[in-house]
């Protein structure tokens, strides 16, 4: 059964449809990332699932039970959904233990062992219980917020941009801890992010929000390798787009003859390659295409090289840092792996 099933969801804010016919199906136990640009309705979707706001149309079902639909709005307290807001939002007037135990029935609020277990679940020592939220680092606050959401053992946990406020070092560490805790708790989780790397690395599946609906939902590898359309390809990672002509599972373009990831009807197409598929090779290599380096952005471990091809087309290649050419150099390029073809 789906942990969360959404159909035809519509929400107007200030007269504009922020969500417009959104459908989403989250399987039991999955950790799903909702990826979208700012203003794409990610947070609105979360608030509708939590029950903080009422949908204008569509249905939301939690584990088969409809909680929002025509004429029906189950209020937030009755939904049993765990919620971790941006920046954690711990209750400043309560200790860590008070925060974690907040959603427990009165009798459970003094269960020190249980609170300790919950803290350990999110990778914090049980001794943190007595601390005040002000004494915690951002990452620790975020973990306490997760422990607080997990305490009543919800079937579904929603996290709103959980790592965006953390600096780079803390972010990776907190991310791992949160993912591990969620898996251990066996909860289905939905987290919202605008950071594609975060979505791809953390999610079992990623749903990309665009124009008020889910443009594509797939596992990270599929989403990256086979984006459903050109715009998605550009949104998820960097993309090199070239016009080409497809014939019999192959295509000809400025980079030569490329294999296609899947069959398309013969004719004009737009081809999509990831920059890391384009390599610098020796002039002697078969099928090498010549070009001239226009500019280089050096990152250290790798570098992004913009190359103008003989025919005038421009492509970006991601090359290892040790083999980085200089602007103005003549280079030869070759492609590895298949290209994705879209209708032009």
């Amino acid at each position: 059964m789906s942990a969360l099933r959404i159909e035809g969801l519509r929400k107007l804010l200030g007269g504009r449809a922020v969500l417009d016919g959104l459908a989403l199906d989250v399987p039991e136990g999955a950790l799903v990332a909702i990826l979208g640009a700012s203003g794409s309705g990610k947070t609105t979707l979360l608030r509708l699932v939590c029950g903080f706001e009422e949908a204008d149309a569509g249905t939301i079902a939690l584990a088969g039970r409809v909680v929002s639909g025509p004429g029906l709005h189950v209020p937030a307290p009755a939904r049993g959904v765990g919620y971790v807001p941006q920046e954690g939002a711990l209750f400043p007037h309560l200790s860590v233990a008070g925060n974690v135990a907040f959603g427990l029935p009165r009798a459970g609020r003094r269960d020190v062992l249980r609170i300790g277990r919950l803290l350990e679940l999110v990778g914090l020592p049980a001794g943190f219980a007595a601390r005040s939220p002000q004494a915690l680092s951002g990452g620790e606050q975020q973990r306490v917020a997760l422990a607080r959401a997990l305490a009543p053992q919800p079937r579904l946990v929603l996290l709103d941009e959980p790592f965006s406020a953390l600096d780079a070092g803390l972010r990776a560490e907190t991310r791992e801890a949160v993912a591990a805790a969620l898996r251990e708790a066996g909860a289905t989780a939905l987290f919202v992010t605008h950071d594609q790397a975060e979505a791809l690395s953390l999610g079992d599946a990623v749903a990309v929000l665009r124009d008020g609906r889910v443009a594509q939902m797939a596992d990270p590898v599929t989403l990256y390798r086979r984006p459903a359309d050109a715009a998605l390809a550009r949104f998820v990672g960097e993309a090199v787009m070239l016009p080409g002509m497809a014939t019999a599972g192959q295509a000809v373009c400025a980079l030569g003859l490329l294999a296609l990831a899947e069959g398309v009807p013969d004719g004009n197409v737009t081809l999509m390659l990831r920059p890391e598929q384009i390599r610098l090779v020796a002039e002697t290599e078969a099928d090498a295409v010549s070009g001239r380096v226009r500019s280089v952005v050096f990152h250290g471990h790798d570098a992004r090289v913009d190359v103008v091809l003989a025919g005038g087309a421009e492509v970006a290649a991601l090359v290892p840092g040790h083999a980085c050419p200089a602007a103005g150099d003549a280079v030869w390029l070759a492609v590895r792996g298949p290209a994705v073809a879209y209708a032009p």
């Binding site: 939590c50 937030a76 307290p77 807001p85 939002a89 209750f91 607080r148 009543p152």
Partner: protein, 507 residues
């Protein structure tokens, strides 16, 4: 929940609108002929003249004095700057009618315009000083430095850069002074300066002039609402954005040199006249109390205790009721802003333009006709207090609630807590200190309130304020002193609270 919330939030504004509309209705109901006869007569012209002259004089004096004090405290290397920052606001601690009592008991020469002007100017200058000082503190000194780098002298920098930015605070403060001059009653009655409020009271006392009183109340109400609208327009939403702006670099203080002494005088004289003189006068009359001058009733410890108890009890109950009414409205405005919330909030703020005497007369008239159970009860008096002090409570409640993150409520609700449990376990503890401060402010305002108490207090209830009033009216200054002393003590506490919040907001 929202419907219940909106309904709860609307109670306060409706209570505010009731007396205002009733006053308008009874004036309009008198008919054009009667209205013309009552409006276009020498008395109204004389009252308008008196009131407007005093209003302008007080606005100007308070404006100049408040601006000068604020600039001296915020921008110069004045000795004892921190102490002056608090002292400059301190005259607000003396209720105007206590100041009036002090001046009139010194010499009869202060009766009339001179005393009235002194009292309102000294008492209300802090209403200009506080916002202007806050605005000065919020100004980025980089602007002034840039202007100076562009070749402007200090004086021209002040005129062309500083003053324009202070204008909302300065004008807003001056309009508040105007409003307070319009609604003040006790000080003017004691100083025998005739304004609309004192004449309405006289008409009420002679009993058979209901239409005349209603018409004067109508004119007064219009003047007040005019001031209020102007104040809204000038200050706009800046009124709310005053708290918690964070620190800015303080401008390099200007060395005063040989101007130090005159500058100190500018600050010291108003404090001496507005705070020390009333306190000293009360103290003087306290020592003379044994020689008891004519008092309408025998003075005794029992009477003082009873009046103190009445003031405390009414203050506590009034503060509780007012804050309870303000809470849902503050919550609505803080959490669900929108046209409806703004409308209700504005309606509540109308109370600032509703003079105590008008509110009290209108409420008692409404009660006698439509709510006999409330008539002459402490309940009606409490309603009047709630109307008069709702704006104070709403501003504070809203600020307190805005400081509590909304996300925390979402978390609580997601954790299965209903709105009542959320309010109890999250909102109340977080907003509690702010609400407590609000309640304390209302408490002191109520326990020193004179006008509505005078008109609406139930049989046998005498408060500190009405005792000061009764004794001073018959020039029994010594008999009034103990009541004035206790009351001023209450008031000092409130100013201390205000100053502390002001200081906290400024750090």
């Amino acid at each position: 929940m929202p419907v219940a919330l909106v309904l709860a939030a609307a109670i306060g504004p409706v209570l505010v609108l009731l007396p205002i509309l009733a006053t308008l209705a009874s004036a309009l109901g008198a008919g054009w002929g009667a209205a013309r006869a009552l409006l276009f007569r020498p008395l109204v012209a004389q009252l308008l003249g008196n009131t407007l002259t005093l209003m302008l004089a007080a606005m100007l004096a308070a404006g100049v004095l408040g601006l000068a004090s604020a600039w001296l405290v915020e921008r110069t290397a004045l000795p004892g700057r921190r102490a002056w920052a608090v002292l400059a606001a301190a005259p607000l601690a003396v209720p105007p009618f206590v100041a009036g009592y002090a001046w009139v008991s010194i010499a009869p020469v202060f009766e009339g315009f001179l005393g009235a002007w002194l009292v309102v100017t000294l008492t209300y200058t802090p209403l200009v000083y506080l916002p202007v000082a806050a605005a000065l503190r919020g100004l980025d000194p980089a602007l002034e430095e840039t202007a100076m780098a562009l070749g402007l002298g200090r004086w021209r920098v002040f005129l062309r850069v500083v003053l324009p930015q202070l204008r909302p605070a300065l004008l807003g403060g001056m309009l508040l002074v105007a409003l307070d001059v319009l609604v003040e009653f006790g000080a003017f009655a004691l100083l025998r300066f005739r304004t609309f409020t004192t004449t309405i009271y006289a008409a009420y006392r002679t009993g058979f002039n209901a239409d005349a009183a209603a018409m004067l109340a109508f004119v007064l109400l219009l003047l007040c609402l005019l001031c209020l609208v102007a104040e809204f327009a000038v200050r706009g939403r800046a009124r709310y954005a005053r708290v918690g702006k964070g620190t800015r670099r303080r401008a390099r203080p200007l060395a005063l040199g040989r101007w130090t002494l005159p500058a100190l005088m500018v600050l010291a004289l108003p404090v001496a006249a507005g705070l020390l003189l009333p306190l000293a006068t009360i103290a003087y009359w306290m020592t003379r109390h044994a020689a008891a001058a004519s008092s309408p009733a025998a003075a005794s410890w029992g009477r003082l205790l009873a009046a103190t108890w009445s003031s405390l009890w009414l203050g506590a109950t009034g503060a509780t009721l007012t804050v309870l009414l303000a809470l849902p409205l503050g919550y609505l405005v803080a959490r669900r802003p929108g046209r409806l919330a703004t409308l209700l909030e504005r309606a509540a703020f109308l109370a600032m333009g509703a003079p105590g005497i008008v509110v009290a007369l209108a409420l008692s008239g409404l009660a006698v006709r439509h709510a006999r159970g409330l008539y002459q009860s402490a309940g009606l008096l409490l309603v009047a207090y709630a109307v008069l002090f709702l704006p104070l409570a709403v501003v504070s409640a809203r600020a307190a609630l805005e400081q509590a993150q909304k996300a925390l409520e979402d978390v609580a609700r997601a954790l299965g807590q209903g709105w009542l449990a959320t309010a109890w376990r999250v909102v109340l503890p977080l907003a509690g200190p702010g609400l407590g401060a609000a309640a304390a402010l209302v408490f002191v305002s109520v326990s020193t309130e004179l006008t509505a108490t005078l008109l609406l207090a139930p049989i046998g209830t005498r408060t500190l304020a009405t005792e000061v009033w009764a004794n001073t009216a018959s020039l029994a200054f010594a008999a009034a002193a103990p009541y004035a002393a206790v009351m001023t003590l209450f008031s000092l506490i409130s100013t201390w609270l205000l100053a502390r919040r002001f200081a906290a907001a400024a750090v």
